[in-house]
């Protein structure tokens, strides 16, 4: 019975993109392209985790988790609270060092991903509890997403050497583009700290997108956001993949949104992966239902409101 309800919710979502504010760029043909993309999933994965195990002082947060993310895919990782989703993302972005296993970014493997060079590897992420720079304006926040590209030293910046000016101009153009893309135009000069929560989430997304990352890690982007903002944000996430060509890994515990948005879903439950497949396969998977049944009533009421 519980599944039925979520299904309705999902259908509503699926219909949304059709009438939603479609961007000028060619998103119209999205439905046809998706099956083709699924076919070449066997191509080199953008991200692959093999046998990742992580313990915090005896408590096993992750138990031998494998995950592969194909280029251009919206890959979701869901699971109840405390399932290890955020730990997984922190392992991918190098904040935690796994006890065992490796993280493959494209063709390079890391025992621990060097966080400082994440941006250089084309990886960007957002944070669960919103890591924007309150003291900077929205535009400057977005500009910060390209910090790793600024090769000119501080002296060149002071003098305003040709190199410094060229890089600055390129960055500003890219920032303008993303500001327009995520409709942040009218708040661009305001200090990020003064914006409502939903808008701040969008600024963080813009900052992650501006460097046109090959891999975009989203840590519960829909947490604490109103329903209408959820729709808008999922719209932006889909556009991010389509017009910015980013492969997206989405960590979320709100099943409704995820089902409609992601190509494939992995389900974690207290540290281990219990299911991995398309939204339909996962929805039918008994292990997933049992895991969620345990917490189902709580999630459902939240959705029903």
């Amino acid at each position: 019975m519980t599944v039925m309800v979520t299904n309705a919710e999902v259908l509503a979502l699926e219909a949304a993109p059709a009438q939603g504010k479609t961007r000028a760029t060619a998103t119209a043909d999205v439905p046809e392209r998706r099956p083709a993309q699924a076919a070449d999933r066997a191509a080199q994965p953008v991200l692959a985790l093999s046998q990742i195990a992580l313990t915090f002082g005896g408590v096993a947060a992750l138990r031998d988790v494998d995950l592969a993310v194909a280029p251009g895919e919206i890959r979701a990782v869901i699971g109840p609270n405390g399932a290890g989703k955020s730990s997984l993302l922190n392992v991918i972005s190098g904040l935690y060092r796994p006890d065992r296993g490796e993280v493959w970014l494209g063709e390079r493997a890391f025992a621990q991903v060097p966080t400082a060079r994440l941006a250089a590897h084309g990886v960007a992420r957002t944070f669960q509890n919103l890591a924007i720079f309150k003291g900077l304006s929205v535009f400057d926040n977005v500009l910060m997403g390209l910090a790793h590209r600024v090769r000119s030293g501080f002296l060149r910046q002071i003098i305003g050497s040709p190199l410094a000016r060229r890089i600055d101009a390129e960055n500003r153009a890219a920032a303008e583009d993303v500001i327009g893309f995520l409709h942040l135009g009218e708040v661009r000069e305001r200090a990020a700290g003064t914006l409502p929560y939903g808008l701040q989430k969008r600024v963080e997304l813009a900052r992650a997108l501006v460097a046109r990352p090959t891999l975009l890690l989203l840590d519960e982007p829909f947490a604490g956001v109103t329903l209408s903002e959820k729709l808008e944000l999922s719209e932006h996430v889909r556009n991010a993949r389509d017009s910015y060509g980013a492969t997206i890994v989405l960590i979320e515990h709100d099943i409704g949104v995820v089902m409609g948005l992601s190509d494939r879903i992995a389900v974690l439950d207290n540290g281990s992966k219990i299911a991995d497949g398309t939204p339909d396969e996962v929805r039918a998977d008994q292990a997933v239902i049992d895991a969620y049944l345990g917490v189902a009533h709580q999630d459902i009421t939240e959705l029903a409101v």
């Binding site: 941006a119 720079f133 400057d140 910090a147 910046q157 002071i158 305003g160 200090a191």
Partner: protein, 347 residues
Amino acid sequence: MSAAPSTAQLLPGAGAFAITVGAAVAFGAVPLLGSDYLMDAVLTPFLALALAAVGLNLLTGYAGQVSLGSAAFLAVGAYATYNLHLRLPQLPLLVDLVLAGLIAAAIGIVFGLPSLRLRGFYLAVSTLAAQFFVQWALTKFGWFSNDNPSGVIDAPVLSVAGFTFTSPAERYVFSLSVVVVATVLTQRLLRAQSGRNFIAVRDHELAAKVIGVPLLRTKLLAFGASSFLIGIAGALWAFAYLRTVEPAGFNLDRSFQILFIIIIGGLASLRGAFLGAAFIVVFPLLLSRAGAALLGGVFDSGVLEMSQRIVVGVLIIAFLIAEPRGLIALWDRLWRAVARPAAIRNT
């Protein structure tokens, strides 16, 4: 500390106009009309402390690294300039100043290293190590003060390209030009990517790391640039203002004074540094002059001084309660209230 829109943005036209008028008054009217007292006892110290506050604001206001040892870098700047001038006489004074600033920057970077692991008051109190060490070293090793038995150094003559700055007005103009140039360069740095990196490191160090901001280089640049500015301010304080200096003049009270200036003036704002310096340097003098003039007969100078100290203390607390973001926020609010009708009219 959100960077409130500065006055210039409110009245774009007025900004440029205000700067030109300000420059005309500062460089022209004041030196010609102002009294020796005004320049030698009020404006020159104000400029030196304002430059030191600009330096500390860069480190504490923009980059979020609290430092209680800024007086040590004032001392390094003063003693380095003295020794460069003494031991390498062929170098022009301006080169001495820049080199002294670089020496102060180098020492600033060394004492900035703990900031990679320490935060908040642990970092602040560990910068005290710089304060006490530098003060001890300058008194202990006679070489720094040319083996003067008491460790006091006398100011070299301030001469640039043949022109000597001796009278209070000339020394004032010399300090003013150095401070204006240094502040403009600092502003360019803070408007560029490095400035944004500072604020990023202050507001969310982890996010800054993830998006590729070089934490080590950014923090050390903050310490280095801040100590560079404070070093030059120290040289101005010693040679344009006091013209003789002893290490005790750069004690902990001096560090606290500079911290007062940027907190009262307003963190992460260059104009805040100047406003704060005006409050901390000029206001007590005004208070003591007014006190002496009005109540001179009734109380002796001691009682006046103590009551004046209470008034300054109370005002500091009152300002912090009224506007935690400092005078600059009060000033901008005042300006916005005055300028709002004007702004509407000319947009």
